[in-house]
Symmetry: C2
Subunit: 525 residues, 2 copies
């Protein structure tokens, strides 16, 4: 039974009068649970409780935080079928995807647990005193990373588990020592409530301070706006549209105390297909890309929405090929009628521009909320002249741009907004002949891929999920992988501080047994 | 002979009609050189040239960048007496300070040269492929830090060398691979032009691309505004007032593509003097703090503008002591008549508030542009009720707050805006009895100091110069020390990228011989 209430710390609360239900896009009908939106008072209570909890939580050891994170993973697994079923009812996504995403979520929690249990992530450095240095003695100075304070995490429509309630942003923030207040996504509030209950159970079992986590229901944008504007909130994580992310960034920038907003937003993920690859294996590429464009009904931030190449018979043939392949795929369900509506609207907007040729358009009847895939093509010149053609169409759609030559290809790439990924389909010998194209691509993206697809974001230390604006609001950080913890911390120095008063990470005797840089040398001594 | 012109890359240029001169505050008279402010066209040319230079400069090896940085240091030293004399003529600061600051500037350039010559700073990580992993094979993913693009650096009024033309911000940006456009400070444009000439010479001698550095003159705020708003500028460094830094942050936040502004702004650097210390050594503390308050005419961002303690006879006696000590010190010259005017205005504003008692006020005649030091005191209650008393008075002034008890002391600290530093004067046994006070202080500052003074910022790896807003606009970064390079870079991933096309830092054979994390293990292999 899902409560429909908010968690203000470990207390269920539903004082508001505004209620809503989630929607089953497969059945095209509302789900039964009634959710009560958080009131202004409940929002304020959650932030104040988080601020109070921060005083204690910031000093909790890495070992204890790891216990908490691992307990969250265990409690999520213990939700078992109820979680998987609720997920499917609220998203129209298949059970296999639900289980896969749960696995990823568990893996993320565990990898942050390992990171903070080991402890070296705080980047402790120690510069010892030189009392006899001339002309001035040198103080003892020690530095480590410390948490910022309460963080607000927005649930993402397209990742109900891995980038929502206990997803990557929450795991990273809790690992760093920051309390988290989640603004639940209205499309999957039931899934979020279940996961929130798991976090609360884990917090209680492992003795974390009340307020280390809260979960607030919201049907519209007001709850999120109030959270971002709250003076005691210190940072924000968001995954979603450019419009939504930018609005939050603007709000945070206007505060008396501006705070960092880490928004991972839109991306059309350009894929450059070079001539040799087209000559040698266009059938394979066409098949692979038809699959990548339609994977998860195209509802991934790394969906390849833009294919770029140089005009040739082979490219013409490839366009025909990929268009045929994409039409062979059975349409699938989108997350919500609004997402489906948005897909159709933005697709229509793009394909109705001048000089756009539609090469694939699924016209058979589709179920309610299922998306009809499409591919369209334009010349490089048309693409350069019309920024509307750069728009992200969130769903199974891709635009193919036919450039006159390598120079125009480079110009098209340079004209792109910032992107999460860029892909090059080529062979090793050929790609070396396109240094300007590759350099232009690198300057516009956060990750480049050779002969692969951008979908399928590996969670590992070397992953960068982020990129120049508007792929994300701050390209200096990644949203995926253990490096994402750095969004929630700041460096802090102790000068001549008494050893017994230092945090363990900086004490002379190194009781945490972590790697530190002491007078320039990395050591555990 | 100082040209009075702008450097657009290696070309001297003075197409504008707006001119200005710098001012000698000691003589209370204008200096002779006429400077021509950069025009909109010159600003645009400088940014476009930097953007072009970035294409090449971003690929320059660490060894070559180190040669460039070391050459800048050499060319600055070669300016010799001309530089020191110009510095003194434009600032009213003594020769010893000029030489000390030059030494620091040289040291900063050399430490960044060493950092990039060694090369491990790029944080290279490699996660090798697992082609047989089930259910999905794992790609080879490699990550390193890469530069953002052209950076604008604003010269700081109070550090004509160490935080201006070739100062810490410029050294860090050039080390990272970002071209730099300096907006010269109007108060010391002559010093800036000389240093710019040294940078240009060094760039030419070491074969750097034209446009890697430009220097633009400005008498007001327009040149800086145009630079920050320019679409091809990717980041900004500023040291100065809260008003100035916030205006730039707001401007950068409103851009179509928002960019990071790293502004190091105001701070009153609270100093907490605990009872035992007052009982045992108040005369020493009084003397030390009278010196710290007046050091460099109080024109340091780390000037101790706020002393906090708990009411007692000993504290009353300390206030008398420090007030007497501060009046024994001879007043000294401020940087500019406008700085002096600002000092008097803000000091008057603060001391004219209700319930403020002036305990020291230098009333003897002082030379033009010399600052009369002062100390005032209020109760904790008064301080909490009146935010005007929190204002930074840039100059030799300090406010002493007398709290009723430790609880009120904690409340006062918690009420403070973000600060660069916090200092505790105490002994090891005593300080352990004030955990809430220390925790509150840590939450408001970037560096805490035990039994020292906040002035005198050591340049080393463990130094944090930055803090919660408004000490700086982004507490996640330091402005001093080699860590400051991280402001100008972003992580970047290569997925399945051909080995011969990877940058040296990520190639299998590790030709740069740097430390990397390979499958979780830090190694040079």
């Amino acid at each position: 039974m899902i409560s429909g209430k908010n968690y203000i710390g470990n207390q269920l609360s539903a004082n508001g009068t505004k209620t809503y239900k989630t929607f089953n896009p497969e059945l095209n009908a509302e789900n039964s649970t009634v959710f009560t939106e958080a009131t202004t008072k409940e929002i304020d209570d959650a932030v104040n409780l988080a601020t109070k909890a921060f005083k204690e939580y910031r000093t909790v050891s890495g070992i204890k935080k790891a216990e908490f994170l691992n307990a969250i993973a265990d409690e999520i697994l213990a939700l078992d079928d109820q979680l998987i079923k609720t997920y499917c009812l609220e998203t129209g996504l298949p059970e296999a995807r639900a289980k896969g995403e749960r696995g990823r979520t568990i893996g993320q929690l565990q990898s942050f647990a390992n990171l903070v249990a080991e402890g070296s992530w705080v980047e402790a450095t120690i510069d010892t005193a030189q009392p006899n240095r001339a002309p001035m003695p040198k103080s003892d100075i020690r530095k480590m990373l410390i948490p910022l304070g309460p963080v607000v995490v927005f649930g993402a429509s397209n990742f109900p588990l891995a980038f929502s309630t206990a997803g990557g942003d929450t795991a990273a923030a809790l690992a760093s020592g920051c309390p988290v207040i989640v603004k639940a996504h209205p499309m999957h509030t039931g899934t979020g409530t279940l996961v929130a209950s798991a976090i609360i159970k884990a917090a209680e079992k492992t003795g974390m301070p009340n307020g280390v986590f809260s979960n607030l229901n919201a049907s519209g944008i007001e709850v999120g706006q109030q959270l971002v504007a709250h003076p005691k909130v210190k940072a924000v994580a968001f995954t979603g549209s450019i419009k939504g992310g930018r609005a939050l960034l603007d709000l945070a920038s206007k505060r008396a105390e501006p705070i960092p907003v880490f928004a991972e937003m839109g991306s059309i993920n350009p894929v450059i297909i070079l001539p040799n690859a087209l000559e040698n294996r266009q059938a394979d590429i066409a098949k692979t890309y038809a699959g990548s464009i339609t994977l998860g009904t195209g509802q991934f931030c790394t969906n390849p929405g833009l294919l770029l190449g140089i005009k040739s018979d082979a490219f013409t043939s490839f366009i025909k090929n990929v268009s045929e392949e994409v039409l062979k795929i059975s349409p699938s369900c989108m997350l919500h009628p609004n997402i489906k509506k948005g897909y159709n609207t933005s697709k229509e907007k793009v394909v109705s521009q001048d000089n756009v040729t539609i090469t694939a358009n699924y016209t058979l009847d589709v179920q309610n909320n299922y998306a009809a895939q499409a591919i369209a093509t334009v010349t490089g010149k048309t693409f350069l002249e019309n920024p509307t053609l750069h728009l992200e169409v969130f769903g199974p759609f891709s635009m193919i741009v036919q450039c006159d030559n390598a120079k125009e290809l480079e110009t098209v790439i340079s004209s792109l907004e910032g992107q999460l990924t860029g892909t090059v389909i080529s062979d090793e010998k050929e790609v070396a002949n396109y240094p300007a194209v590759i350099a232009a691509l690198q300057n516009r993206v956060g990750r480049i891929i050779f002969n692969g697809v951008p979908t399928g974001v590996e969670v590992c230390e070397s992953m960068v999920h982020g990129g120049p604006y508007p792929a994300s609001t701050d390209s200096r950080f990644t949203a995926v992988g253990i490096g994402s913890i750095k969004r929630w911390v700041r460096p802090f120095s102790y000068q001549d501080w008494p050893n017994n008063m230092l945090p363990n990470e900086l004490k002379n005797e190194n009781p945490s047994n972590i790697f530190r840089v002491v007078d320039g040398v990395r050591t555990k001594n």
